[in-house]
Amino acid sequence: MPGVAASIGRAAAQGRRWFVASTLLAATFAWFAPANAQLNILITKPAARPVPIAVVPFGWQGSGAVAFDLAAVVTADLRSTGRFAPLPAADMVTRPTEPAQVNFQSWRLLKSDYLVIGKLTEDSPDRFTAVFELFDVVRGEQSLGFRLQAGRSDLRATAHKISDMIFEKITGIPGVFSTQIAYVSEERRADNTRRFRLIVSDADGENARVIADSPQPLMSPAWSPDARRLAYVSFEGQQSAVYVQTLRTGTRERVSSRPGVNSAPSFSPDGRLLALTLSHDNGNLDVYTLDLATQQLKQLTTDDAIDTEPSWSPDGRTVYFTSDRAGGPQVYRVSVNGGRPERVSYDGVYNARPRLSPDGKTIAVVYGQSNTYKIGAVDAANGMLRVLTTGRLDESPSFAPNGAQIIYATRENGRGVLASVSTDGLIQTQIASVAGDVREPVWGPFPRP
């Protein structure tokens, strides 16, 4: 067996504890993750040449029916990126589960460039071992081989880990299948009341959990860099306030409820500061940083304009923000120590909501022109803008932690839906909610072991 025992077991075990805790949270508040919060990912524009790959259904050694269909999740993961064209299982002539059973020539005839085989073994009622191997069919050799151990409730996470390893091996880009997204859903009821929910789900939309629920608006979720907390804005007291909620325990802290606007929270890369927008001083919106340990507030902007939507550079030294000090909203940046802000975007009359790519080189913005709003990518070095999307009311861009993809909100038949676009604009997917309006997606960071 050429497999290597991965250190996945520990990460998966932690994932399981987290899952149990979130279940308790749901029970405590009598909130149930609504089935309608689930998302279906459709490829609206695939890569020009998606990589053909065959993920053979895994073998099963255990009592009763197969505990989990790992291959199905891996297939869906790879397909959801628009970069892979998985071979339908029905087209597979053979279904090897061991390297010795692989006949490369037959997979070449099926035009699969890559082949994934594997086995799931039940070691005990709550202990499983998954083994998988990735083959380069063209070269006729093994590219990857791993053994992963997991409890029953970690089998889905195990499939995502396998997807991450395969994706990175083939594309050179770390996979984001084990990450999470947060988003806001709004349900309008027949009696005209509304229900706002803040939802956290796996990146594929599965495993959705409601973490806050209110008849008043919820908005602007922001991940902490350790993926353990979410900051957000709630109007539950008839006034805006910024909260920071710990996902595992459900406990939350109201970190700002000053008079006027308390909005647009954004964690610094070290997690110690929260950049946010306040208007308590004179009714004008300015960007501040709040030290979460000491509560010390520091004002970063002082202009009479609307200054809002702060976002951090990856090194934590610069805060990007939206300001209409020159007329329309444009992107500016200022040192975290304060000083004179510098304008960054010049192309067009409306560039708002900057979000930095993980490498700090690209700024995703909402680009408005001729009454349409699309997602644009501004080069942080020279201000050049590329328009990435084609919608009319696109908003809220957020980079995946691998920088390869931007998730955003758009409209489809009058409903709020989520969508993603590759950072080069070439691959587009739509992430449709089964029911209700969804918006303000924010992609969480890579999980920390």
């Binding site: 805006s240 006027g260 909005s263 927008t277 009714g283 919106l285 809002t308 939206t322 708002a352 408005g368």
Partner: protein, 175 residues
């Protein structure tokens, strides 16, 4: 919406010409029916002259205060259009004469563009209304602002008409 405004204006003119004798009674009783919290403050404050202030608000203004509670704005603008001057003068006078009254100014925008920038725009609109009301005699401690941005549309849909109705500041009286 234009029709509604016209009806309101006609009604206001009518009330000035026809009901000038009974304006005090009309003002207090209808205030009680449409805005219970503000009538409460009127009556509890009467010992300090609340009754006098209500009677000195002319019938036209009293009617405006009860019926005209929304200021509309142009796209991406926070400037008060001249058509709302009389309305805000009436609310300003009402607040000046009833020190116990408070008014909450809820700023809103249409759905276009970035949500947090729209929170800014809604607040700017609420602040515009606040400034005008203070020029008309309202005290700073009578006025609070909140911006909902695009989060609480008055009209759903992505049409010019829905957008026009959503670019607004709502005036909400309380004790």
């Amino acid at each position: 919406m234009k029709n509604v405004l016209w009806i309101v204006l006609i009604a206001a003119v009518f009330s000035v010409t026809a009901c000038s004798k009974s304006n005090t009674k009309g003002a207090t009783s209808s205030a009680g029916s449409t805005a219970p919290t503000s009538s409460g403050s009127n009556t509890t404050g009467s010992g300090a002259g609340g009754g006098i202030s209500v009677s000195s608000l002319d019938a036209d203004q009293a009617r405006i205060v009860q019926t005209q509670l929304v200021v509309y704005f142009d796209y991406d603008q926070a400037e008060i259009k001249p058509e709302f001057n009389a309305m805000l003068a009436a609310h300003g006078a009402n607040l000046a004469k009833n020190a116990a009254l408070t008014l909450r100014l809820e700023g809103n925008t249409d759905e276009r563009g970035s949500r947090e920038y729209n929170i800014g725009l809604g607040e700017r609109r609420a602040q515009s209304v606040r400034r005008v009301l203070m020029l008309q005699g309202a005290a700073a401690n009578q006025l609070t602002t909140v911006s909902y941005g695009e989060e609480r549309p008055a009209s759903t849909g992505s049409t010019e008409e829905a957008w026009r109705l959503n670019r607004r500041v709502e005036l909400v009286y309380s004790r």
